[in-house]
């Protein structure tokens, strides 16, 4: 008899819809009650989140694009000012890195291998 009662309550528990929606709590959370980054991120994290959504990479977090380094397809070097230091590893595994200042304006060439580098302005959010 007890077993039948237990079975009946177990059946009822298993079949009732337990997917009752949780009431949306305050603080602007959408469903479930745990906020999302979109709702709660702040400061630099928020700035980067917004920029990433717009396809931008202001803080150079992604791998730099690859260029051929020719006159027609020079390495584009982003810079927040009007010059930036470039270190050219002319051939793979070279241990002597060729360092030089790249200034804005016409593309410059590496003094060792001749690859073309061009400074491009880089926007920083403030």
């Amino acid at each position: 008899m007890a077993a039948r009662l237990l079975l009946r309550s177990a059946f009822r528990a298993a079949t009732t819809c337990r997917a009752a929606p949780v009431p949306a709590l305050t603080r602007g959370v959408t469903t479930g009650g745990i906020p999302t980054d979109e709702e709660q991120a702040t400061g630099l994290e928020k700035v980067i989140l917004k920029a990433t959504k717009e396809g931008k990479d202001p803080y150079s977090m992604l791998k730099p694009k690859e260029y051929a380094g020719t006159k027609a397809d020079p390495h584009l070097v982003p810079s927040v000012t009007n010059k930036r230091i470039v270190g050219c590893v002319c051939e793979e595994d070279n241990t002597a890195v060729i360092w030089f200042w790249l200034h804005e304006g016409e593309a410059q060439r590496c003094p060792s291998c001749g690859s073309h580098y061009k400074l491009v302005p880089h926007e920083l959010p403030h």
């Binding site: 745990i34 999302t36 702040t42 630099l44 994290e45 959010p125």
Partner: protein
Amino acid sequence: MAHQAHAYHMVDPSPWPLTGAISALLMTSGLATTFHYKTTTLLFLGTTLLLLTMFQWWRDIIRESTFQGHHTTSVQKGHGYGMVLFITSEVFFFIGFFWAFYHSSLAPAIELGGLWPPTGITPLDPFEVPLLNTAVLLASGVTVTWAHHSIIEGARKPALQSLTLTVLLGLYFTALQAMEYYEAPFTLADGVYGCTFFVATGFHGLHVIIGTTFLMVCLLRHTHYHFTSKHHFGFEAAAWYWHFVDVVWLFLYISIYWWGS
């Protein structure tokens, strides 16, 4: 905010590393004075300073991350590396104690009777409370994983329930182990058996307490909406640490409790 051109966090000057170092000095010298002169003042002072340091340092980290947004994905990645390296160092810490145990138990000295457990030692039955402890920690591993999935899915209430359960299981383990320690028929002073047993399980118990505290802090933060469905590294670090504690117990159970009996 963004006068930097990188996504990393250059931390503001802070006094807590200094107070932490001072507390380490006070605690170590305090331990020495306690042993030699039975005065606990220095030790008490050092411990208090340590607790204050931990509280304020980690409070500042929460302020920098949750409230100021300095923890970008690059920063989180670095924290991931850091936590993994720290846990690895703790693994090596325990390897030392397992080494000591196996050194003495694989070739038991003639002074012990040439056998393990040594003559006169009645080991704990591995299928009594130690087995329950194993079940408790394994279950807590399940509940903490449940909590993690709940957070990812944005489900606040299940996360609250599963995280609370995890903490309760951790506390249950500690209580059971404390009782076992009290009731054990052998002590720390009972030769190399007592020494390896209580030092290994004792340090494990300390790590359980640390892990439970870490999870309790996560529970508190969760109730205050600190975690988002994508960004909750503090919780992940606590969960990793908790799994580590569980794995160490499994090794302890197999080696010392089961094989060692």
